[in-house]
Amino acid sequence: MNRRRLILSAAGVGLAATGLAGPAGALVTPAPTPTDDDLAYANFGLAAEFLLQDFYGQVERAKLVTGTTVREIKRGGFNAAEHAFALEQLLKGAAQTAAVRDDFDFTWPDGTFATKKQALATGLTLVETLLGVYLRAAAVVTVQSYRGLYASMAANLGQQAAALSEQSGGRIVGISFAPALELKTASDVLEAYLG
């Protein structure tokens, strides 16, 4: 199994898109049709993952971090790219046109990458916002396999938040119950960066 297929099957996206689900790809009932609400989370998530990927790239290029932190930043960028790929496949599987990276002109406020502290604070805002959206999506989307994908990505974003928090002098382990966010709230937070 190649890496792409592994990502998709782990997230259940490929199976949902093809209507094949269950052990060993046995043919079962067709995948349920996702609602507009289900896909709104994917559309937002895809844009936000492109943004996050750009953020990690900017941090790396600005040489704001050193040592093991560089590895964590690279890993964060890699995770964002894999999430974006999974969401793109989810949207294509639902016959929607997925956004591409070039659809956005990301806007970073002046000074975002001037210091390590400022950059990591911005990164934490992005990651925690997206985590909140995925937590909400994992609870409310109607397609079972999508819930698995959102829960899986939320777990990874929790790790990214821990790494960014630690590097900026905060706690590694945060609050017990991270808040789920409404799409509108998250959209308002990220709009300033999405251009």
Partner: protein, 255 residues
């Protein structure tokens, strides 16, 4: 001496005619051709095309309507569409030459200055009682509107539509005149009536890919002049005119 007078007069007359001809042909595109070109263009291009080059003969309407007219043999030289779908269909049928992308745009929600429905966000369309006006699904801006609503999980607000218009100008006008509480238009149309409406942004993640394409009509008797005109709109001068009107540069993915 007297024998020279007529020839001096003829020379002056010829010079005057030439000067006149040169003046007439001195359009914004800098080409030389007798008579104006006939340009069929999306309604959203009305202001910018007239400003860029007021010497041509324009027909502005919904791109879907113009596409149908060209299919029926309308005598256009150039077709500029608000959606690649219209130009690409004509290209596939051999009715236009290969289209090129020449600009882009964004969608916005507009409300009258008085904002009777109290809208502050696109999401508010779900919760409030509102008279919404949109363009028909076949019109590019109507298709883009439905894409935005689908991306945001708001397709249900289409049940609040009180009128489906034939082009973006009609949507803009209804909202500007207070005949509707809100409408989806291009950002450039909203700018044109900014004293009458308030613009509500649509998030970048929910924006459709609004691309404008332009092509020479295959049966045009003025192909060379039409190609020059298209070169002009793609030039720095043309792109500056579009930019001043609020249009976006040619997207990276299209260039």
């Amino acid at each position: 001496m007297s024998a020279q007078r007529p020839s001096r007069f003829v020379g002056a007359a010829v010079a005057a005619v030439l000067a006149c001809a040169l003046a007439l042909s001195g359009t914004a595109a800098g080409r030389s051709q007798a008579g104006p070109l006939t340009i069929y263009a999306a309604a959203s291009l009305t202001g910018v095309f007239n400003t860029y080059d007021g010497s041509e003969k324009y027909s502005f309407a919904g791109s879907n309507v113009l596409e149908t007219q060209i299919k029926q043999g309308a005598p256009a030289d150039i077709f500029a569409s608000a959606s690649p779908a219209n130009t690409q269909r004509l290209y596939a049928s051999g009715l236009v030459d290969k289209p090129v992308t020449f600009t882009a745009n964004r969608l916005a929600l507009i409300v009258p200055k008085s904002n009777p429905a109290g809208l502050k966000s696109v999401y508010d369309l779900r919760s409030v009682s509102v008279k919404l006006v949109v363009a028909g699904a076949a019109v590019p801006v109507g298709g883009y509107t439905r894409t935005v609503l689908k991306k945001m999980g708001l397709s249900s607000v289409l049940s609040k539509v009180v009128s489906q218009e034939s082009d973006v100008k009609a949507v803009t006008s209804k909202v500007a005149l207070g005949q509707a509480d809100a409408g989806f238009v291009y950002v450039t149309d909203a700018r044109a009536v900014s004293d009458q409406v308030t613009l509500i942004r649509i998030p970048a993640w929910a924006q459709p890919r609004v691309r404008y394409e332009i092509a020479v009509v295959s049966k045009s008797p003025n192909k060379s002049a039409a190609q020059s005109w298209i070169k002009g709109i793609l030039s720095t001068k043309g792109q500056t005119a579009l930019s001043h009107a609020g249009f976006l540069p040619i997207p990276k993915a299209s260039s």
